[in-house]
């Protein structure tokens, strides 16, 4: 009985202290230090939020760089992957279909890089590999009537190296690249 009372009271104590106090204080400090990141790294254009640099978006038009396929079609509620086994007949079929479509859209670019063939874990991967970005240059340049060399230069500028020179993999942020692409043409 003594222990039951202690158990209830200490549960209440921690729920208030760790359940309210801790996240509230952390939110206040985070907002002070990194407000933009704490709020979701939102990108706004003309005062209107148009996405987060960390959350992948769906791109299908020929004049944009395409992201990786997504098991949730880039709808973040909820996030997730395909969870298919690598030996599953289903996966083999959809990958062949994706390969066929990519090859048809990029007849001069050879084999598609594999990150464009397989869905990501979150379904919201904001990145593609540098190879996957280069693979799409000719198509995008053609659709926008741009000089492929200019698009190549833009892509190369958007390659983010391994973090601190060693962690993770080199990446290209698709949304940032596409925004820069739109920007390039407005100037023109």
């Amino acid at each position: 009985m003594k222990h039951l009372l202690a158990a209830i009271r200490i549960n209440i104590f921690f729920m208030i202290f760790l359940g309210l106090g801790y996240p509230l204080v952390m939110t206040v400090i985070s907002n002070g230090l990194f407000q933009d990141k704490a709020d979701g790294s939102i990108i706004s254009m003309d005062g209107k939020a148009m996405g987060s640099s960390l959350i992948g978006q769906k791109f299908e038009k020929a004049e944009y760089f395409w992201p990786r396929p997504s098991a949730i079609d880039y709808n973040p509620l909820p996030s997730g992957g395909s969870n298919l086994s690598l030996q599953s007949e289903n996966l083999k079929r959809v990958v062949e279909e994706r390969k066929r479509r990519l090859t048809a859209a990029h007849p001069e670019s050879g084999e598609p890089p594999q990150d464009l063939l397989f869905t990501s874990a979150s379904g919201l991967d904001p990145h593609i590999s540098p190879a996957a970005a280069r693979y799409q240059i000719l198509r995008v340049a053609k659709a926008r009537l741009l000089d492929p060399l200019k698009v190549t230069a833009l892509v190369e500028r958007h390659i983010e190296a391994r973090q601190w020179g060693g962690f993770g993999e080199p990446t290209v942020n698709v949304l940032k690249l596409n925004i820069a692409l739109d920007g390039m043409q407005e100037v023109k």
């Binding site: 202690a6 760790l18 148009m50 987060s52 959350i55 978006q57 769906k58 038009k61 298919l84 690598l86």
Partner: protein, 563 residues
Amino acid sequence: MGLADILQFLLFIILLTALTPLLGGLMVKIFEGQKNFLSKPLGWIERLAYRFAGIDASYEMTWKEYATSLMIFNIVGIVVVTMFQMIQWHLPLNPQGLTGVSWHSALNTAVSFITNTNWQGYSGEVTMSYLTQMMTLAVQNFVSAAVGMAVVIALTRGIARRSSRMIGNFWVDMTRGTVYVLLPLAVIFTLILVGQGVVQTFLPYLEVVTLEGLKQIIPLGPAASQIAIKMLGTNGGGFFNSNSSHPFENATALSNFLQMLSIFLIPAALTYTYGTITHARKHGWVIFSVMLALFVVFTSLSLVSEYTFNPVLGYAGVMEGKEVRFGVFNSVFFSSVTTSASCGAVNAMHSSLSPLSGGIAMLNMMLGEIIFGGVGAGLYGVLLFVLLTVFIAGLMVGRTPEYLGKKIEAPEMTMVILAILAPCATVLIGTGISVVTPTALSSLANKGPHGFSEILYAFTSAAANNGSAFAGLNANTIYYNLMLALVMFIGRFAVIVPVLAVAGSLANRKYSPPSSGTFEVDSVLFGILLVGVILIVGALTFLPGLSLGPIVEHLMMIKGQTF
């Protein structure tokens, strides 16, 4: 896999080894109640907790009283967390207006978070309100880890003390673990994570119009504060459904590296704490080395499997279920860390790993989560195997085994065997029942051996209090919610209670000084023997199960067969 990957792996091991005595030494002071540099800034919280709950910090408990208060604390937790989820609709900080959670899902989640498992049948961003995540799930992330630490500290005392009936005070150990170990680390880690892009806000979900003019709703929330403790406490329950693969939960390669390190940090440091308190520091390092060796070997095997050419798809290192910023190496590395420790966070979808990688993830859990393992749970888990090894070695030379100055006799061994076998039996029986139950089979997403693996993985993950999943399985059904809740409960408490019984019984023993016949536990030979016992118990129990799932799948892959 390139040079950068190997260097990163080495850096990980160096940092882990260097931090072990630092944090381990600090934890000695914390749990022995000695003054340390945290006493001043944080002492008031500890005293406030005792005052609020009416706890006498100088009071000592027998093992039975210790176990009773632990069980009551956890059962109260289960009731509170279950009810909280069911009434979240009526509570504030629910900007998305999420409804109450169904009773069976709420119960499953409550048991899951109380037992440090963090198995998730639900999807965070469409199920739990901000308040539910903060006040129930994140709080249990703290205290369930602290419970694990308390148990291992009680066991440590049992071994260190002589002719004593007392093993400490549960409330004090649990509070100290929370206030002095977990809280300061979580505060620092939260801020690092936010600096990398992990969200921490009370703003509602944001609706945006994408560049191509489509509507997208971006979920937000006080995630970083919860993710920090989810890793440090080896809990693993994601704020968002896709866990640490979600860019808002694990934004960069650096945050990923630190998340992996934070999983192993406390479990590794506890080996040093244990060695110091029992005056067997070298033995503590032998345990650390055994864990590290098993980890390096299993991770390497998993990497080899993942980088092997897959004839079905025509690629090696397939990117299905992986994120570009992590790549193949960091996805497999993370999968090995999270299943070795009983964390269960994932940064890649384990169901889409190569067959043997998925199998090794399962094997890591099947060995009893003793490769660093859960906070506290990993160390008391491996100590069960240590006692078994000492016992077997004693039998071989025909004398009563001794361990760190204590004779090991029948009462301890009965409890050790019970604690080792209970989770194993639960996995096999649970899987067995499920594969002949139509309701259970209707939840499968994959056919063939992979379907079997989904079920085996679920029960293994639950019994080992890991929480990761072959997430194709739709586990949010009455059958799985209740079955897995039961399995998680057994997997946690059918180990903890026997461990505390061992602690009580050893504390009561007299000191028997080592003689020429005592088997030395700080030698390489002991380390090798310990590895042998761990592998034999794990392999004998689970090889048949693994053969039907991952191994068959691997053989089919080699032949290029699909299902």
